[in-house]
Amino acid sequence: MNQKLKFSINLISGIILLVLLAILSIRFGANQNDNSTVFNAIFNYHSTDINQRIIRDIRIPRVIGAILIGAALAGSGALMQSVTKNPMADSGILGINSGAALMLTLSFVFFPHLSTQATTIFSVFGAAFTSILVFIISSLKKSQMSPTILVLAGMAISAFFAAISEGLALLMHLKQDLAFWHFGGVSAVSWSQLNNLGPWIFVGLAILLLLAPSLNLLHLSDDSIKSLGKNINVIRILALCCVVILSGISVSLVGAVAFVGLIVPHIAKFLIGTDYRQIIPLTLILGADLTVCADLVARMINPPNETPFGLIISLIGVPFFIYLARKDGHNA
Protein backbone atom coordinates (compact mmCIF):
# COMPACT_ATOMS: atom_id res chain seq x y z
CA MET A 1 0.00 0.00 0.00
CA ASN A 2 1.08 3.54 -0.69
CA GLN A 3 2.83 4.91 2.39
CA LYS A 4 0.92 8.20 2.40
CA LEU A 5 -2.42 6.42 2.07
CA LYS A 6 -1.49 4.06 4.89
CA PHE A 7 -0.58 7.02 7.09
CA SER A 8 -3.80 8.88 6.29
CA ILE A 9 -5.94 5.83 7.00
CA ASN A 10 -4.23 5.25 10.34
CA LEU A 11 -4.40 8.89 11.35
CA ILE A 12 -8.05 9.31 10.37
CA SER A 13 -9.05 6.07 12.12
CA GLY A 14 -7.23 7.31 15.21
CA ILE A 15 -9.09 10.61 15.11
CA ILE A 16 -12.49 8.94 14.59
CA LEU A 17 -11.74 6.61 17.49
CA LEU A 18 -10.79 9.60 19.61
CA VAL A 19 -14.04 11.41 18.85
CA LEU A 20 -16.06 8.28 19.70
CA LEU A 21 -14.15 7.72 22.92
CA ALA A 22 -14.54 11.38 23.89
CA ILE A 23 -18.33 11.22 23.36
CA LEU A 24 -18.54 7.97 25.35
CA SER A 25 -16.50 9.47 28.15
CA ILE A 26 -18.71 12.51 28.35
CA ARG A 27 -21.81 10.30 28.51
CA PHE A 28 -20.73 7.52 30.82
CA GLY A 29 -19.46 7.49 34.37
CA ALA A 30 -20.89 7.51 37.85
CA ASN A 31 -23.63 9.67 36.40
CA GLN A 32 -25.10 8.44 33.10
CA ASN A 33 -26.37 10.92 30.56
CA ASP A 34 -28.32 10.63 27.35
CA ASN A 35 -27.31 12.22 24.07
CA SER A 36 -29.68 15.16 24.36
CA THR A 37 -28.27 16.22 27.74
CA VAL A 38 -24.77 16.11 26.29
CA PHE A 39 -25.93 18.09 23.28
CA ASN A 40 -27.68 20.66 25.42
CA ALA A 41 -24.76 20.99 27.81
CA ILE A 42 -22.57 22.02 24.93
CA PHE A 43 -24.89 24.03 22.70
CA ASN A 44 -27.81 25.01 24.88
CA TYR A 45 -26.44 25.29 28.40
CA HIS A 46 -28.64 25.79 31.46
CA SER A 47 -26.60 26.10 34.62
CA THR A 48 -29.60 24.99 36.70
CA ASP A 49 -29.56 21.47 35.27
CA ILE A 50 -27.25 19.42 37.50
CA ASN A 51 -26.52 16.89 34.74
CA GLN A 52 -25.53 19.63 32.36
CA ARG A 53 -23.32 21.13 35.02
CA ILE A 54 -21.55 17.83 35.63
CA ILE A 55 -20.89 17.57 31.93
CA ARG A 56 -19.67 21.14 31.57
CA ASP A 57 -17.62 21.47 34.73
CA ILE A 58 -16.33 17.94 35.30
CA ARG A 59 -16.62 15.65 32.31
CA ILE A 60 -15.52 17.96 29.50
CA PRO A 61 -12.38 19.35 31.18
CA ARG A 62 -11.56 15.81 32.19
CA VAL A 63 -11.78 14.55 28.62
CA ILE A 64 -9.86 17.51 27.23
CA GLY A 65 -7.25 16.97 29.92
CA ALA A 66 -6.97 13.29 29.02
CA ILE A 67 -6.58 14.13 25.33
CA LEU A 68 -3.88 16.76 25.91
CA ILE A 69 -1.99 14.68 28.41
CA GLY A 70 -2.12 11.52 26.35
CA ALA A 71 -0.75 13.40 23.36
CA ALA A 72 1.89 15.14 25.48
CA LEU A 73 3.15 12.00 27.22
CA ALA A 74 3.19 9.89 24.08
CA GLY A 75 4.84 12.65 22.05
CA SER A 76 7.56 13.27 24.58
CA GLY A 77 8.13 9.51 24.82
CA ALA A 78 8.67 9.34 21.07
CA LEU A 79 11.05 12.27 21.33
CA MET A 80 13.07 10.65 24.12
CA GLN A 81 13.32 7.35 22.29
CA SER A 82 14.61 9.06 19.22
CA VAL A 83 17.03 11.45 20.97
CA THR A 84 18.54 8.79 23.24
CA LYS A 85 18.44 6.14 20.50
CA ASN A 86 17.00 3.88 23.14
CA PRO A 87 13.69 2.13 22.34
CA MET A 88 12.98 1.67 26.06
CA ALA A 89 13.24 5.37 26.91
CA ASP A 90 10.41 7.57 28.03
CA SER A 91 10.24 10.93 29.73
CA GLY A 92 10.81 9.29 33.13
CA ILE A 93 14.39 8.73 32.02
CA LEU A 94 15.17 12.42 32.25
CA GLY A 95 14.19 12.32 35.92
CA ILE A 96 11.03 14.26 35.22
CA ASN A 97 8.70 12.05 37.24
CA SER A 98 10.97 11.97 40.27
CA GLY A 99 11.66 15.70 40.14
CA ALA A 100 7.97 16.53 40.01
CA ALA A 101 7.27 14.10 42.86
CA LEU A 102 10.02 15.59 45.00
CA MET A 103 8.78 19.15 44.56
CA LEU A 104 5.25 18.04 45.25
CA THR A 105 6.37 16.37 48.47
CA LEU A 106 8.39 19.41 49.48
CA SER A 107 5.45 21.71 48.85
CA PHE A 108 3.26 19.48 51.04
CA VAL A 109 5.90 19.56 53.78
CA PHE A 110 6.67 23.29 53.77
CA PHE A 111 3.51 24.90 52.39
CA PRO A 112 0.70 22.53 53.33
CA HIS A 113 -2.02 25.08 52.61
CA LEU A 114 -1.15 25.89 49.03
CA SER A 115 -3.83 25.58 46.37
CA THR A 116 -3.73 22.73 43.86
CA GLN A 117 -2.76 25.35 41.27
CA ALA A 118 0.33 26.35 43.14
CA THR A 119 1.47 22.82 43.88
CA THR A 120 1.10 21.99 40.20
CA ILE A 121 3.34 24.88 39.28
CA PHE A 122 5.80 23.75 41.93
CA SER A 123 6.03 20.33 40.41
CA VAL A 124 6.45 21.71 36.88
CA PHE A 125 9.52 23.52 38.17
CA GLY A 126 10.67 20.34 39.89
CA ALA A 127 10.43 18.48 36.61
CA ALA A 128 12.29 21.19 34.70
CA PHE A 129 14.99 21.52 37.35
CA THR A 130 15.66 17.78 37.47
CA SER A 131 15.87 17.37 33.74
CA ILE A 132 18.28 20.28 33.47
CA LEU A 133 20.37 18.72 36.23
CA VAL A 134 20.40 15.36 34.47
CA PHE A 135 21.30 17.11 31.27
CA ILE A 136 24.24 18.98 32.84
CA ILE A 137 25.58 15.86 34.54
CA SER A 138 25.43 13.90 31.32
CA SER A 139 27.27 16.55 29.34
CA LEU A 140 30.05 16.95 31.93
CA LYS A 141 32.00 13.95 30.78
CA LYS A 142 32.55 14.64 27.11
CA SER A 143 32.30 17.54 24.77
CA GLN A 144 29.30 15.99 23.09
CA MET A 145 26.25 14.52 24.75
CA SER A 146 26.19 10.79 24.88
CA PRO A 147 22.78 9.12 25.00
CA THR A 148 24.03 6.32 27.24
CA ILE A 149 25.33 8.72 29.85
CA LEU A 150 22.10 10.69 29.65
CA VAL A 151 20.13 7.55 30.48
CA LEU A 152 22.47 6.57 33.31
CA ALA A 153 22.46 10.05 34.84
CA GLY A 154 18.66 10.12 34.57
CA MET A 155 18.30 6.81 36.36
CA ALA A 156 20.73 7.79 39.12
CA ILE A 157 19.07 11.15 39.78
CA SER A 158 15.62 9.57 39.63
CA ALA A 159 16.53 6.97 42.23
CA PHE A 160 18.10 9.62 44.46
CA PHE A 161 15.14 12.01 44.32
CA ALA A 162 12.63 9.19 44.71
CA ALA A 163 14.45 8.11 47.87
CA ILE A 164 14.29 11.63 49.30
CA SER A 165 10.62 12.12 48.56
CA GLU A 166 9.65 8.66 49.82
CA GLY A 167 11.61 9.28 53.01
CA LEU A 168 10.03 12.67 53.56
CA ALA A 169 6.58 11.25 52.89
CA LEU A 170 7.13 8.55 55.51
CA LEU A 171 8.55 10.95 58.09
CA MET A 172 5.84 13.56 57.64
CA HIS A 173 2.94 11.11 57.20
CA LEU A 174 2.18 12.34 53.71
CA LYS A 175 1.57 8.95 52.14
CA GLN A 176 -2.16 9.57 51.96
CA ASP A 177 -1.82 12.99 50.30
CA LEU A 178 0.61 11.71 47.72
CA ALA A 179 -1.20 8.50 46.91
CA PHE A 180 -3.38 10.12 44.23
CA TRP A 181 -0.25 11.35 42.53
CA HIS A 182 1.47 7.97 42.45
CA PHE A 183 -1.52 6.27 40.87
CA GLY A 184 -2.23 9.11 38.54
CA GLY A 185 -5.48 10.17 37.00
CA VAL A 186 -7.25 12.89 35.10
CA SER A 187 -10.31 12.93 37.35
CA ALA A 188 -9.29 16.16 39.09
CA VAL A 189 -8.41 18.17 36.00
CA SER A 190 -10.31 21.46 36.10
CA TRP A 191 -10.99 24.29 33.70
CA SER A 192 -8.66 26.61 35.56
CA GLN A 193 -5.80 24.13 35.31
CA LEU A 194 -6.50 23.72 31.62
CA ASN A 195 -6.54 27.48 31.15
CA ASN A 196 -3.21 27.87 32.89
CA LEU A 197 -1.30 24.92 31.55
CA GLY A 198 -3.15 23.94 28.38
CA PRO A 199 -1.55 26.67 26.23
CA TRP A 200 1.89 25.43 27.26
CA ILE A 201 1.04 21.94 26.16
CA PHE A 202 -0.02 23.37 22.81
CA VAL A 203 3.32 25.20 22.54
CA GLY A 204 5.14 21.95 23.31
CA LEU A 205 3.11 20.01 20.77
CA ALA A 206 3.77 22.67 18.13
CA ILE A 207 7.55 22.50 18.71
CA LEU A 208 7.30 18.73 18.55
CA LEU A 209 5.55 18.77 15.17
CA LEU A 210 8.11 21.24 13.83
CA LEU A 211 10.94 19.02 15.06
CA ALA A 212 9.50 15.86 13.52
CA PRO A 213 11.33 16.08 10.14
CA SER A 214 14.67 16.59 11.91
CA LEU A 215 14.09 13.57 14.12
CA ASN A 216 14.54 11.37 11.07
CA LEU A 217 18.20 12.35 11.12
CA LEU A 218 18.58 10.69 14.50
CA HIS A 219 18.43 7.31 12.78
CA LEU A 220 22.08 8.06 11.95
CA SER A 221 25.15 8.42 14.15
CA ASP A 222 26.24 11.87 15.31
CA ASP A 223 29.23 11.70 12.95
CA SER A 224 27.03 10.93 9.97
CA ILE A 225 24.62 13.73 10.83
CA LYS A 226 27.42 16.24 11.12
CA SER A 227 28.92 15.17 7.84
CA LEU A 228 25.54 15.72 6.22
CA GLY A 229 25.90 19.33 7.33
CA LYS A 230 23.42 19.36 10.22
CA ASN A 231 24.04 20.44 13.77
CA ILE A 232 22.64 17.73 15.97
CA ASN A 233 23.06 19.51 19.28
CA VAL A 234 20.58 22.21 18.30
CA ILE A 235 18.00 19.51 17.56
CA ARG A 236 18.81 17.74 20.84
CA ILE A 237 18.45 20.84 22.97
CA LEU A 238 15.14 21.80 21.34
CA ALA A 239 13.92 18.24 21.78
CA LEU A 240 14.81 18.21 25.46
CA CYS A 241 13.08 21.58 26.06
CA CYS A 242 10.04 20.13 24.38
CA VAL A 243 10.15 17.01 26.57
CA VAL A 244 10.45 19.13 29.72
CA ILE A 245 7.46 21.26 28.78
CA LEU A 246 5.24 18.40 27.70
CA SER A 247 5.93 15.76 30.25
CA GLY A 248 6.70 18.16 33.09
CA ILE A 249 3.24 19.64 32.78
CA SER A 250 1.48 16.32 32.24
CA VAL A 251 3.17 14.67 35.16
CA SER A 252 2.33 17.61 37.37
CA LEU A 253 -1.31 17.50 36.35
CA VAL A 254 -2.05 13.80 36.44
CA GLY A 255 0.76 12.14 38.35
CA ALA A 256 3.33 9.54 37.42
CA VAL A 257 1.52 7.77 34.61
CA ALA A 258 3.91 5.18 33.32
CA PHE A 259 3.99 3.48 29.95
CA VAL A 260 2.03 5.94 27.78
CA GLY A 261 5.29 7.44 26.55
CA LEU A 262 6.84 4.03 26.21
CA ILE A 263 4.26 2.00 24.33
CA VAL A 264 2.42 4.46 22.12
CA PRO A 265 5.40 5.45 19.92
CA HIS A 266 6.08 1.76 19.34
CA ILE A 267 2.51 1.11 18.27
CA ALA A 268 2.77 4.06 15.86
CA LYS A 269 6.05 2.75 14.44
CA PHE A 270 4.59 -0.72 14.11
CA LEU A 271 1.65 0.70 12.15
CA ILE A 272 3.42 3.07 9.77
CA GLY A 273 7.18 2.56 9.79
CA THR A 274 10.17 4.78 10.39
CA ASP A 275 9.36 8.27 9.13
CA TYR A 276 9.02 10.64 12.09
CA ARG A 277 7.00 13.13 10.04
CA GLN A 278 4.29 10.45 10.20
CA ILE A 279 5.19 8.79 13.50
CA ILE A 280 4.79 11.99 15.55
CA PRO A 281 1.26 12.99 14.51
CA LEU A 282 0.05 9.40 14.79
CA THR A 283 1.71 9.04 18.19
CA LEU A 284 -0.10 12.14 19.48
CA ILE A 285 -3.50 10.84 18.36
CA LEU A 286 -2.92 7.30 19.63
CA GLY A 287 -1.63 8.63 22.96
CA ALA A 288 -4.85 10.62 23.35
CA ASP A 289 -6.85 7.50 22.40
CA LEU A 290 -5.09 5.45 25.06
CA THR A 291 -5.53 7.91 27.93
CA VAL A 292 -9.15 8.75 27.13
CA CYS A 293 -9.91 5.04 26.86
CA ALA A 294 -8.05 4.22 30.11
CA ASP A 295 -9.87 7.04 31.89
CA LEU A 296 -13.21 5.74 30.64
CA VAL A 297 -12.40 2.19 31.74
CA ALA A 298 -11.21 3.50 35.10
CA ARG A 299 -14.65 5.01 35.69
CA MET A 300 -16.61 2.04 34.39
CA ILE A 301 -14.96 -0.87 36.22
CA ASN A 302 -16.42 -0.20 39.63
CA PRO A 303 -18.74 2.83 39.64
CA PRO A 304 -19.18 5.11 41.42
CA ASN A 305 -15.61 4.46 42.59
CA GLU A 306 -12.77 5.43 40.34
CA THR A 307 -10.10 2.85 39.62
CA PRO A 308 -6.76 4.70 39.34
CA PHE A 309 -6.17 5.15 35.65
CA GLY A 310 -2.43 4.71 35.97
CA LEU A 311 -3.21 1.13 36.98
CA ILE A 312 -5.26 0.54 33.83
CA ILE A 313 -2.48 1.87 31.64
CA SER A 314 0.09 -0.24 33.45
CA LEU A 315 -2.14 -3.28 33.00
CA ILE A 316 -2.07 -2.71 29.25
CA GLY A 317 1.51 -1.43 29.28
CA VAL A 318 3.37 -4.16 31.15
CA PRO A 319 2.44 -7.09 28.89
CA PHE A 320 3.24 -4.94 25.90
CA PHE A 321 6.56 -3.93 27.39
CA ILE A 322 7.51 -7.59 27.94
CA TYR A 323 6.45 -8.44 24.41
CA LEU A 324 8.63 -5.61 23.15
CA ALA A 325 11.66 -6.69 25.18
CA ARG A 326 11.27 -10.24 23.89
CA LYS A 327 10.96 -9.11 20.32
CA ASP A 328 14.09 -6.99 20.63
CA GLY A 329 15.89 -9.97 22.09
CA HIS A 330 15.02 -12.04 19.04
CA ASN A 331 16.36 -9.48 16.65
CA ALA A 332 19.70 -9.20 18.40
Binding site: L217, L220, D223, S227
Partner: protein, 263 residues
Protein backbone atom coordinates in the same frame (compact mmCIF):
# COMPACT_ATOMS: atom_id res chain seq x y z
CA UNK B 1 46.47 19.76 -7.02
CA UNK B 2 45.67 18.95 -3.44
CA UNK B 3 42.09 18.72 -2.29
CA UNK B 4 42.96 18.38 1.38
CA UNK B 5 46.03 19.47 3.29
CA UNK B 6 46.84 19.39 6.95
CA UNK B 7 49.45 21.71 8.34
CA UNK B 8 51.19 20.94 11.67
CA UNK B 9 48.04 19.33 13.01
CA UNK B 10 47.91 18.11 16.60
CA UNK B 11 44.82 16.27 17.76
CA UNK B 12 44.04 15.14 21.24
CA UNK B 13 41.32 12.73 22.13
CA UNK B 14 40.20 12.14 25.70
CA UNK B 15 42.92 14.55 26.83
CA UNK B 16 45.68 12.43 25.28
CA UNK B 17 47.62 13.79 22.36
CA UNK B 18 47.10 11.22 19.62
CA UNK B 19 48.42 13.05 16.57
CA UNK B 20 51.60 15.10 16.58
CA UNK B 21 52.56 17.84 14.13
CA UNK B 22 51.14 16.07 11.15
CA UNK B 23 51.35 17.69 7.72
CA UNK B 24 50.01 15.76 4.76
CA UNK B 25 48.75 16.53 1.28
CA UNK B 26 45.98 14.58 -0.37
CA UNK B 27 45.88 14.94 -4.15
CA UNK B 28 42.63 15.50 -5.97
CA UNK B 29 41.11 12.69 -8.03
CA UNK B 30 43.19 9.92 -6.51
CA UNK B 31 42.72 7.21 -3.93
CA UNK B 32 44.72 7.95 -0.82
CA UNK B 33 44.82 5.37 1.95
CA UNK B 34 45.99 5.74 5.53
CA UNK B 35 47.74 2.70 6.92
CA UNK B 36 49.29 1.94 10.29
CA UNK B 37 48.98 -0.35 13.28
CA UNK B 38 45.93 -0.35 15.56
CA UNK B 39 45.72 2.72 17.71
CA UNK B 40 48.17 4.65 15.54
CA UNK B 41 45.74 7.50 14.99
CA UNK B 42 44.33 6.48 11.58
CA UNK B 43 40.75 6.98 12.66
CA UNK B 44 41.59 10.15 14.54
CA UNK B 45 43.24 11.58 11.46
CA UNK B 46 40.33 10.52 9.24
CA UNK B 47 37.92 12.14 11.64
CA UNK B 48 40.00 15.30 11.76
CA UNK B 49 40.14 15.57 7.99
CA UNK B 50 36.39 14.93 7.91
CA UNK B 51 35.83 17.85 10.28
CA UNK B 52 34.43 15.57 12.97
CA UNK B 53 37.28 16.34 15.39
CA UNK B 54 38.88 19.72 15.86
CA UNK B 55 42.67 19.83 15.90
CA UNK B 56 44.07 21.51 19.02
CA UNK B 57 46.81 23.00 16.87
CA UNK B 58 47.35 23.41 13.16
CA UNK B 59 44.94 23.79 10.30
CA UNK B 60 43.09 21.49 7.93
CA UNK B 61 42.57 22.96 4.46
CA UNK B 62 39.77 21.81 2.21
CA UNK B 63 40.28 23.13 -1.31
CA UNK B 64 42.81 25.65 0.03
CA UNK B 65 40.38 27.07 2.59
CA UNK B 66 40.63 26.64 6.33
CA UNK B 67 37.98 24.03 7.04
CA UNK B 68 37.08 25.66 10.35
CA UNK B 69 36.01 28.80 8.56
CA UNK B 70 33.57 26.94 6.38
CA UNK B 71 29.96 26.24 7.22
CA UNK B 72 29.27 22.59 7.91
CA UNK B 73 26.40 22.72 5.46
CA UNK B 74 28.84 23.79 2.73
CA UNK B 75 31.41 21.16 3.70
CA UNK B 76 28.67 18.55 3.31
CA UNK B 77 28.46 19.45 -0.38
CA UNK B 78 32.19 18.96 -0.85
CA UNK B 79 32.88 15.78 1.07
CA UNK B 80 30.89 12.76 2.17
CA UNK B 81 31.99 10.78 5.19
CA UNK B 82 31.34 7.17 6.02
CA UNK B 83 32.18 6.62 9.70
CA UNK B 84 33.50 3.35 10.98
CA UNK B 85 30.62 1.54 12.62
CA UNK B 86 27.26 1.78 11.00
CA UNK B 87 25.09 -0.60 12.95
CA UNK B 88 22.43 2.06 13.37
CA UNK B 89 19.45 2.73 11.15
CA UNK B 90 18.74 -0.96 10.65
CA UNK B 91 15.00 -0.30 10.59
CA UNK B 92 15.35 1.86 7.51
CA UNK B 93 15.03 0.62 3.96
CA UNK B 94 17.96 0.96 1.58
CA UNK B 95 16.16 3.71 -0.29
CA UNK B 96 15.40 5.66 2.90
CA UNK B 97 19.06 5.48 3.90
CA UNK B 98 20.32 6.59 0.52
CA UNK B 99 17.83 9.47 0.57
CA UNK B 100 19.67 10.89 3.60
CA UNK B 101 22.55 11.61 1.23
CA UNK B 102 20.44 14.39 -0.31
CA UNK B 103 20.06 16.32 2.93
CA UNK B 104 22.77 18.90 2.17
CA UNK B 105 20.79 19.98 -0.90
CA UNK B 106 17.33 20.10 0.58
CA UNK B 107 15.57 23.05 2.07
CA UNK B 108 13.66 22.62 5.28
CA UNK B 109 10.23 20.99 4.81
CA UNK B 110 10.77 20.54 1.08
CA UNK B 111 9.99 17.29 -0.69
CA UNK B 112 12.48 15.48 -2.91
CA UNK B 113 13.22 17.25 -6.18
CA UNK B 114 13.63 15.58 -9.57
CA UNK B 115 17.37 16.02 -9.19
CA UNK B 116 17.24 14.28 -5.80
CA UNK B 117 15.39 11.29 -7.26
CA UNK B 118 17.86 11.10 -10.13
CA UNK B 119 20.87 11.09 -7.83
CA UNK B 120 19.31 8.51 -5.52
CA UNK B 121 18.53 6.17 -8.42
CA UNK B 122 21.98 6.63 -9.76
CA UNK B 123 23.61 5.91 -6.39
CA UNK B 124 21.53 2.73 -6.02
CA UNK B 125 22.52 1.73 -9.54
CA UNK B 126 26.23 2.29 -8.79
CA UNK B 127 26.08 0.17 -5.68
CA UNK B 128 24.01 -2.54 -7.47
CA UNK B 129 21.21 -2.13 -4.98
CA UNK B 130 18.33 -1.34 -7.31
CA UNK B 131 16.60 -4.65 -6.63
CA UNK B 132 17.07 -4.30 -2.89
CA UNK B 133 15.92 -0.70 -2.56
CA UNK B 134 12.84 -1.51 -0.51
CA UNK B 135 14.52 -4.04 1.79
CA UNK B 136 15.25 -3.09 5.38
CA UNK B 137 18.94 -2.88 6.27
CA UNK B 138 18.47 -5.47 9.02
CA UNK B 139 17.55 -8.07 6.39
CA UNK B 140 20.70 -7.52 4.31
CA UNK B 141 24.11 -9.14 4.51
CA UNK B 142 27.00 -7.14 5.94
CA UNK B 143 28.39 -6.49 2.48
CA UNK B 144 25.08 -5.30 1.06
CA UNK B 145 24.60 -3.06 4.08
CA UNK B 146 28.01 -1.49 3.62
CA UNK B 147 27.22 -0.91 -0.06
CA UNK B 148 24.01 0.83 1.03
CA UNK B 149 26.02 3.18 3.25
CA UNK B 150 28.43 3.86 0.41
CA UNK B 151 25.44 4.54 -1.85
CA UNK B 152 24.31 7.16 0.64
CA UNK B 153 27.72 8.83 0.37
CA UNK B 154 27.49 8.60 -3.42
CA UNK B 155 24.06 10.25 -3.40
CA UNK B 156 25.62 13.12 -1.48
CA UNK B 157 27.27 13.90 -4.81
CA UNK B 158 30.54 15.26 -3.45
CA UNK B 159 33.96 15.42 -5.07
CA UNK B 160 35.53 13.73 -2.08
CA UNK B 161 34.45 10.60 -0.22
CA UNK B 162 36.07 9.69 3.09
CA UNK B 163 35.73 6.14 4.42
CA UNK B 164 36.94 4.84 7.75
CA UNK B 165 37.81 1.14 7.41
CA UNK B 166 35.01 0.33 4.96
CA UNK B 167 35.79 -3.40 4.87
CA UNK B 168 35.87 -4.17 8.58
CA UNK B 169 33.74 -7.20 9.58
CA UNK B 170 33.15 -8.24 5.97
CA UNK B 171 34.12 -11.57 4.49
CA UNK B 172 36.62 -11.84 1.63
CA UNK B 173 34.17 -11.57 -1.26
CA UNK B 174 32.28 -8.66 0.22
CA UNK B 175 35.52 -6.86 1.03
CA UNK B 176 36.46 -7.16 -2.61
CA UNK B 177 33.02 -5.93 -3.74
CA UNK B 178 33.38 -2.84 -1.61
CA UNK B 179 36.93 -2.13 -2.80
CA UNK B 180 35.92 -2.56 -6.46
CA UNK B 181 33.00 -0.20 -5.94
CA UNK B 182 35.30 2.40 -4.42
CA UNK B 183 37.78 1.98 -7.26
CA UNK B 184 34.99 2.41 -9.80
CA UNK B 185 33.81 5.62 -8.15
CA UNK B 186 37.33 6.94 -8.43
CA UNK B 187 38.01 5.86 -12.00
CA UNK B 188 34.65 6.49 -13.65
CA UNK B 189 33.50 9.50 -11.68
CA UNK B 190 36.85 10.97 -10.71
CA UNK B 191 35.96 11.17 -7.07
CA UNK B 192 38.75 11.71 -4.62
CA UNK B 193 38.81 8.85 -2.15
CA UNK B 194 40.40 9.02 1.27
CA UNK B 195 40.19 5.97 3.46
CA UNK B 196 41.76 4.07 6.30
CA UNK B 197 42.42 0.38 5.70
CA UNK B 198 43.82 -2.50 7.69
CA UNK B 199 44.52 -4.84 4.83
CA UNK B 200 47.88 -3.82 3.34
CA UNK B 201 47.31 -5.75 0.14
CA UNK B 202 44.03 -3.99 -0.46
CA UNK B 203 45.72 -0.70 0.31
CA UNK B 204 48.55 -1.49 -2.11
CA UNK B 205 46.32 -2.77 -4.88
CA UNK B 206 43.59 -0.14 -4.89
CA UNK B 207 45.35 3.07 -3.84
CA UNK B 208 47.38 5.66 -5.66
CA UNK B 209 48.89 7.21 -2.57
CA UNK B 210 49.62 5.78 0.85
CA UNK B 211 50.14 7.61 4.10
CA UNK B 212 51.69 5.57 6.90
CA UNK B 213 51.31 6.62 10.50
CA UNK B 214 52.69 5.15 13.68
CA UNK B 215 51.91 6.41 17.16
CA UNK B 216 50.38 9.57 15.75
CA UNK B 217 53.47 10.52 13.79
CA UNK B 218 53.75 10.53 10.02
CA UNK B 219 56.23 7.84 8.93
CA UNK B 220 56.17 8.00 5.18
CA UNK B 221 53.80 9.09 2.45
CA UNK B 222 53.77 8.96 -1.32
CA UNK B 223 52.97 6.67 -4.24
CA UNK B 224 52.27 3.05 -3.29
CA UNK B 225 55.61 1.70 -4.59
CA UNK B 226 57.56 4.16 -2.46
CA UNK B 227 55.70 3.32 0.73
CA UNK B 228 55.40 -0.47 0.50
CA UNK B 229 59.06 -1.35 0.96
CA UNK B 230 60.72 -3.90 3.20
CA UNK B 231 62.28 -1.20 5.34
CA UNK B 232 59.10 0.81 5.76
CA UNK B 233 57.01 -2.22 6.72
CA UNK B 234 59.59 -3.23 9.29
CA UNK B 235 59.64 0.25 10.68
CA UNK B 236 55.86 0.76 10.78
CA UNK B 237 54.45 -2.68 11.54
CA UNK B 238 57.45 -4.55 12.95
CA UNK B 239 57.08 -7.14 10.24
CA UNK B 240 59.55 -8.77 7.96
CA UNK B 241 57.74 -8.92 4.65
CA UNK B 242 58.40 -10.48 1.28
CA UNK B 243 57.20 -8.14 -1.41
CA UNK B 244 56.53 -9.21 -4.98
CA UNK B 245 55.02 -7.34 -7.87
CA UNK B 246 51.58 -8.16 -9.23
CA UNK B 247 50.06 -6.10 -12.04
CA UNK B 248 52.74 -3.49 -11.37
CA UNK B 249 51.48 -3.10 -7.80
CA UNK B 250 53.46 -4.34 -4.82
CA UNK B 251 52.01 -7.33 -3.04
CA UNK B 252 53.00 -8.58 0.36
CA UNK B 253 53.30 -12.35 0.30
CA UNK B 254 54.03 -13.71 3.71
CA UNK B 255 55.58 -12.02 6.61
CA UNK B 256 57.15 -12.75 9.91
CA UNK B 257 57.35 -10.79 13.02
CA UNK B 258 60.50 -8.70 13.07
CA UNK B 259 62.66 -9.79 15.99
CA UNK B 260 65.58 -7.43 15.99
CA UNK B 261 67.14 -8.80 12.82
CA UNK B 262 66.42 -12.49 13.40
CA UNK B 263 63.72 -14.03 11.25
Amino acid sequence: MNIIETKDVCVSYDKKLTIHDLSIQIPKGQITTLIGPNGCGKSTLIRTIAHLLKPCEGVVYLDNQNINQKKISDIAKEMAVLPQTNNLANDLTVQELVTFGRIPYRKRFSTLSKEDHKKIDWALEKASLKDLRNRRLSTLSGGQRQRAWIAMAVAQDTDTIILDEPTTYLDLTHQLDVMLLIKELNEKEHRTIIMALHDLNHAARFSDQLIAIKKGVLQVSGPVQDVITKDNLRNIFDIDARIIEDNSKPMILTYNRWRGGQV
